[in-house]
């Protein structure tokens, strides 16, 4: 064989691809060594077989339905991906090119097929396909998510609103619960005033001292009236109302709440109200605002476990472009309501999260973490804002800003506080210091003392009582209410008194569950306790027994 023919033969037989020639119907005329080796046949074993019959079933069907027609129409095809079945049953991924060879008359003489081993490439394609499927699925899920997002948000908001509604009510009930204790105490005081006055009235009538009757009638009426006011307020507070914005005078609202707040704060907290004159009217749901105010006050009280000062302040604020942006509000006129305390204050990380629903630093069972989030929701819904100013260890100011309403406030409820006349009275002999913030009670006790022939000194608050104890005045007995305003409770007063007057005898008059305040129900020597309401006779005999050392 001449050298160049040998060369060409080698080129054909050992090329890096399979070469075959087939008849128009697919029967193999010639196959090179490379192809035969791939397929696992001896060169001549392939001749006479149909190319289609070497294909996997899918390849065979597609070849007949897709590629054979294509070859006939355009005279060739390139890079068709097919699978060959080898002699040993394994499969070989290949890319196939085919071209028709025609004679001069245009008839197809044979078809030349070139076969490339595509195992690696098909594997990459498979991996690529997998990756693309994963990506498509991810983007389909994303699309689905996008489509349903709106509906789901709406549903979530709806659920959230329902939940918040329920929580608002629950909060109110919680606040009511907070109040109940204090109010029971106040009611007992007022009842003591009324029943005591009536009893004295009966006695004076029996004694024929008719000229003095007027005092007792006035006292009983005053106490009754305050009891009625209290009841009224309690009912108004617990009534459930839908959000119903009305032009509101916040000063009037604060004044109406003041009494309630004082009682809720307890005696250890001094409450001060600073009402701005000429305060702008706001359009707001008064019920919700009351709720918010009370919640702010309760938070303030919780931040002052050892007492302190609570200040409620209203004001007009003109927010310019910059300040407004700072507070995330449109610029304009706002009325503000700020509640300040001298409590623990908040570290920055608490400030940051204080408005989050369910964020609380309070122990389980004490805090719900919902107060501020609801106040925030309410403020925003009312077109306003709520802000925290807090200094760790010094105190906190919470400010509500509500947009000014141009129009008159509806008749604000006037807050009234009928206070009795306070006049120190004195008799000769042994002297008793009476400390109680409820003038009626003070008066009744004083009356009893006078009847018994004792001299009485009165004080309305702890510090005032302590001043008297620290003076040279003769004091044989201290009678004090446990819950006292002015930042010092009855127990603290008694202890301070015993510090300057060792052996000082003390009679506590208590309302509701204040027993805990007095040494967890266990009384130290020289200390006694009488629970309100009490009969005048019981009080008289008790006082006599203590003073005479019985």
């Amino acid at each position: 064989m001449p050298q160049d023919v040998e060369d060409l033969k080698d080129l054909f037989e050992n090329a890096p691809c399979g070469y075959i020639s087939v008849e128009p119907a697919g029967r193999i005329i010639k196959a090179n060594q490379t192809f035969a080796a791939w397929m696992g046949y001896e060169g001549n074993q392939l001749v006479g077989r149909r190319f289609q019959d070497l294909l996997s079933i899918a390849g065979k069907i597609y070849y007949e339905t897709h590629f054979a027609p294509l070859l006939r129409m355009q005279g060739f095809f390139n890079e068709v991906a097919l699978e060959l079945l080898c002699a040993n049953g394994s499969r070989l991924s290949v890319l196939v090119n085919a071209v028709e060879r025609r004679d001069d008359a245009g008839r197809v003489r044979f078809i030349r097929i070139t076969i490339f081993n595509a195992s690696d490439r098909r594997r990459y394609e498979q991996q690529l396909l997998e990756a693309r499927r994963a990506a498509e699925q991810a983007s389909a899920e994303l699309r689905e998510l996008n489509l349903t997002l709106e509906a789901r948000i709406e549903k979530a908001v709806q659920e959230r609103m329902t939940a918040e509604d329920a929580l608002r009510q629950a909060q109110k009930m919680e606040a009511v619960g907070q109040l109940t204790g204090g109010i029971a105490h106040d009611f007992n005081n007022l009842l003591a005033g009324i029943t005591g006055s009536l009893e004295l009235l009966r006695r004076r009538v029996a004694q024929g001292r008719l000229s003095e009757l007027e005092r007792y009638i006035v006292a009983a009426q005053g106490a009754s009236k305050r009891a009625a006011t209290l009841t009224h307020r309690l009912l108004a507070f617990s009534r459930r109302q839908a959000l119903d914005p009305k032009p509101t005078d916040m000063n009037g609202l604060v004044a109406g709440m003041e009494d309630l707040i004082r009682r809720t704060m307890g005696p250890a907290v001094v409450v001060e109200v600073v009402a701005a004159s000429g305060l702008w009217t706001t359009l707001v749901d008064a019920n919700q605002l009351e709720n918010a105010l009370l919640n702010l006050c309760i938070n303030a009280r919780d931040a002052m476990p050892d007492g302190g000062k609570l200040m409620i302040e209203t004001g007009n604020r003109w927010l310019d472009e910059r300040t407004a942006r700072d507070r995330d509000l449109p610029p304009g006129q706002y009325a503000s309501l700020c509640v300040s305390d001298t409590g623990t204050g908040m570290p920055p990380e608490v400030i940051e999260r204080a408005f989050d629903p369910f964020f609380t630093t309070k122990p389980i069972g004490k805090g719900t973490g919902l107060g501020l989030s609801m106040i925030y929701g309410f403020a925003r819904q009312s077109g306003g804002q709520v802000r925290i100013y807090s200094e760790l260890g010094r105190g906190t100011t919470m400010c509500l800003y509500l947009p000014r309403h141009f129009g008159e406030a509806e008749a604000a409820e006037a807050a009234e506080a009928a206070r009795g006349i306070e006049a120190p009275r004195a008799e000769q002999g042994e002297t008793v210091l009476v400390v109680d913030d409820e003038p009626t009670v003070r008066m009744l006790v004083t009356e009893v003392l006078e009847e018994l022939g004792y001299r009485a000194i009165e004080a309305a608050a702890g510090p005032e009582g302590l001043r008297i104890l620290q003076s040279n005045a003769r004091i044989d007995l201290l009678i004090t209410d446990v819950g006292l305003p002015g930042g010092m409770n009855g127990r603290q007063l008694a202890e301070a008194g015993q510090a300057v007057r060792p052996g000082l005898k003390v009679l506590f008059i208590t309302g509701y569950a204040e027993n805990a305040v007095i040494s967890h129900g266990h009384l130290e020597p020289g200390m006694h306790m009488l629970t309100k309401p009490f009969a005048m006779d019981a009080l008289a005999s008790r006082i006599k027994r203590i003073i005479t050392g019985g």
Binding site: P24, S56, F77
Partner: protein, 262 residues
Amino acid sequence: MSVLQRHNVHVSGSGSQAMVFAHGFGCDQNMWRFIVPAFADHYRIVLFDHVGAGGSDLSAYDPEKYATLDGYTADVIELCRELGIRDGVFVGHSVSAMIGVLVARRAPELFAELVLIGPSPRYIDDEDYVGGFSEGQIHELLEFLDSNHMGWSQAMAPVIMGNPERPELGEELTNSFCRTDPEIAKRFARATFLSDNRTDLAKVGTRSLILQCSEDVIAPPCVGEYVHRAIPGSEFVLLNATGHCPNLSAPEETIAAMKAFL
């Protein structure tokens, strides 16, 4: 979009009797290019693409409608009625031969003659019936298509793009084959190869010609004979042509057989 646009319908030729050509699985109306000229002088030629193939409106592809041959049958009836066809000639290749059988049953007024090229009422063997494929083979095909769709489409693109030898075909092929959506092809394969229309054959009342290739992997001669036996009064011609597409590989023989029948 009108039904004619949906199916990329082309009407040509001069004649009063309509001759409707329906392509099979894997092709489009281009496959009739060597046959049509022989009939254009005497017939009103109607060419169309099934939805999902060639220049059809791919957006009209509804997987549910085209899950079986019924959807395709309804389309043919709809477009023939739109064209006002009566007593025409239906020429169907491969799966479209069966679609023609279904059309003849449901709307017998449309066609007076059926030319069925490579018909198969069922591809899978069933007891005594020989369809040419075992059930396992067809499932291998369908599974392969499920996991290899890129393999096919990637291979198709370069096949179509360059066409140095016969540039005049380039456009057509680009337009038809490039738009063979692999996902749709996969579903069409399922509708085709899982079909069983054997019981429909006996109810065909239309004059029918069966053209059978002598070597056809897709529809072997025994299947063509089965069809011939089942359709009352049908004529059967076994062609010398091999393969599945005599209309492409042996147009002259195909034309002659058709003319003899018509």
